[in-house]
Symmetry: C2
């Protein structure tokens, strides 16, 4: 069949990994941070519609959820990320906790333009968002990073922050001693010139200039850090809270802090912000911070929290970055995934011998 | 890279078309009707959760929408159909009005198991649903089918109904004379022994024993059929209404009829049922009809309407039918679409030279 039919571009796990290898992790993260900053600067919620994600969550056979995060950039692009969160995956199946694909559609025709592996990109963009928030909210001379939760997300948090701060010291805590102990080894790929140490929780939280919480704490089992002894200028990237009832940061800490959600409405449902009864205590969204940094600069000397629940604009930016590199490097698989019958008014027009409605039927 | 990694099965347009060719259209439609009847019989809304679809709709650059239709069959399968409806596609891009893909996820891990072309399947299952509704609500000896709207959906409506009724005569009306005139030619693939004729709208609606409306009527521009002169035992499959404000059937006809929606909550928002102020006028859902046919048999002699808005259970059934045939025929493409890092706790573990956390590091 001649393939003038519209094709969907598929970027597999291999394609995304090849891009990361060829571009290099540092340049990739820098580009992700740069493009995401630009996307926040240009963000206009009249032209870009981001509904709250929805999905299924369940407790059987294991705790988990599958959600979809849609975005419409009017007349330009529709992006839907599907993301699964199944905290028992590593133990039960040797799979990552988070699995994801990101799809792009053309809003002029509805065509599926691309499906891209979103697992790696979710980690990458979550790191980049924390780096951006920290750049506007943390003390610029922050040297000590605390990591509470040392799983997959902690690697990209460290990586992203190391691209924007001159970090000297990383203190790591995880409830799982094996995960805690392996962190330095896993982070070795970043080739960072800094000291990485496991430490008791209190030591991590009290020494940190910047703290990232990225745990799989159970619903209603939070918070995961103590409220006492935090540095007065501490900035926290609260990455783990992404589910009703799941929180990592004590309410008293939130109440003393400027709390910036990535996405206000979603943070109220799933983020740290769900702890606030009084919404007026919630600060600006991240994009407002990026647009008006002077207005919030004084907060760098005070306690601040980035309430990161995951924002479809981040996924759109990550996907488009990958698609641009796939173009440059000639990667990806093209597939005619959607039937486009020879005759659009006849779903059966692929059947051999079918007379198309545009054909001329000659008389016998 | 050794591929013990989990793979996603892709069934492209070619795969789906090959299945249809090898299985044959009649057998495929019969199986679709049979499996869907079974799915309705087994449907249990405690174990199968079907949220109302959501999506984006817009008027620029053209009228259109992209929606997702999710279904969770607890512990078994998650299915999300994405479907675009862009009525100007044929004219502007030579593409079908409806474009779609259907994705299946494993709710134990969140893995994306399959992505299947949904364009053809949407037409197939919509036809099958009308055949089932007609079987329970139309007069068994119905001989004359009326089609209002002669586009792609009309072909599968005719096909499905011809598998359950001994149709002798098909009367076709479309506002577009070219589409109306080409219908018989397009339907030739079905090799049906019956007479197909174009006719004025009133002739179609007054002669029909069963009527299918499948139009792209504009929002607020309906109804598309006159209320007068309908046969007292007429059954209508109202297929076109799938959008707020879009309706095809006059309210007075609905008020005289037993109206069965495929999916009550959605029909209230997008179907013919949105015309009812009094919900108590709405009849059973299709699955209730299938489960208790005796309770509704008397209605075959009266006017009845199947309010077909599209139900994710139909899409799940269609997708699983295709996947079963793909197994049998060895079709489809397997692709590692989701990154599964060698070390699930390290999103960068694909980088050459990265030390996995489970590796043994030997001392120097």
């Amino acid at each position: 069949m001649p393939d003038s039919r519209p094709q969907t571009r598929l970027l597999s796990a291999d394609d995304v990994q090849l891009i990361a290898q060829r571009v290099g992790l540092d340049r990739l993260m820098d580009e992700m941070i740069g493009r995401l900053t630009q996307a926040f600067l240009e963000f206009d919620n009249h032209n870009t519609v981001v509904p709250i994600r929805s999905g299924f969550n369940y407790r059987t056979p294991h705790v988990g959820l599958v959600e979809w995060m849609p975005l419409l950039q009017k007349t330009q692009q529709i992006v839907v990320k599907t993301v699964g969160y199944h905290p028992q995956n590593p133990e039960l199946y040797g799979l990552p906790t988070v699995l994801s694909t990101i799809s792009a559609y053309d809003p002029t025709s509805g065509r599926l333009l691309a499906v891209v592996d979103g697992t790696f990109l979710t980690a990458l963009r979550t790191g980049a968002a924390s780096a951006i928030a920290s750049q506007y909210l943390a003390q610029p001379n922050s040297r000590t990073l605390g990591l509470v939760g040392a799983g997959a997300q902690a690697i990209t948090q460290l990586h992203a922050l190391s691209r924007r701060f001159d970090l000297k010291h990383v203190l790591v805590y995880d409830t799982d001693p094996v995960v805690m102990a392996s962190f330095a080894e896993r982070a070795a790929v970043l080739k960072l010139d800094l000291r990485i140490e496991s430490a008791p929780l209190v030591q991590v939280t009290t020494a940190a200039d910047i703290l990232c919480t990225a745990t799989s704490v159970d619903v209603e089992a939070g918070p995961v850090i103590p409220a006492q002894g935090l540095k007065p200028g501490l900035h926290i990237n609260a990455v783990g809270a992404d589910f009703p009832g799941k929180t990592e940061i004590p309410l008293s800490v939130l109440e003393q802090s400027l709390v910036c959600p990535d996405f206000y409405e979603q943070a109220l449902l799933e983020g740290e912000c769900q702890q606030f009864e009084d919404r007026s205590q919630i600060g600006p969204e991240l994009f407002e911070l990026v647009k008006s940094p002077a207005a919030y600069k004084a907060h760098q000397q005070q306690m601040t929290v980035f309430d990161s629940t995951g924002f479809a604009l981040e996924d759109q930016t990550a996907m488009n970055l990958m698609l641009a590199y796939a173009d440059e490097l000639g990667l990806g698989t093209w597939m005619a995934l959607e039937s486009v019958a020879a005759d659009v008014k006849n779903p059966y027009s692929f059947v051999p011998g079918t007379v198309g409605s545009n054909s001329v039927v000659t008389g016998a």
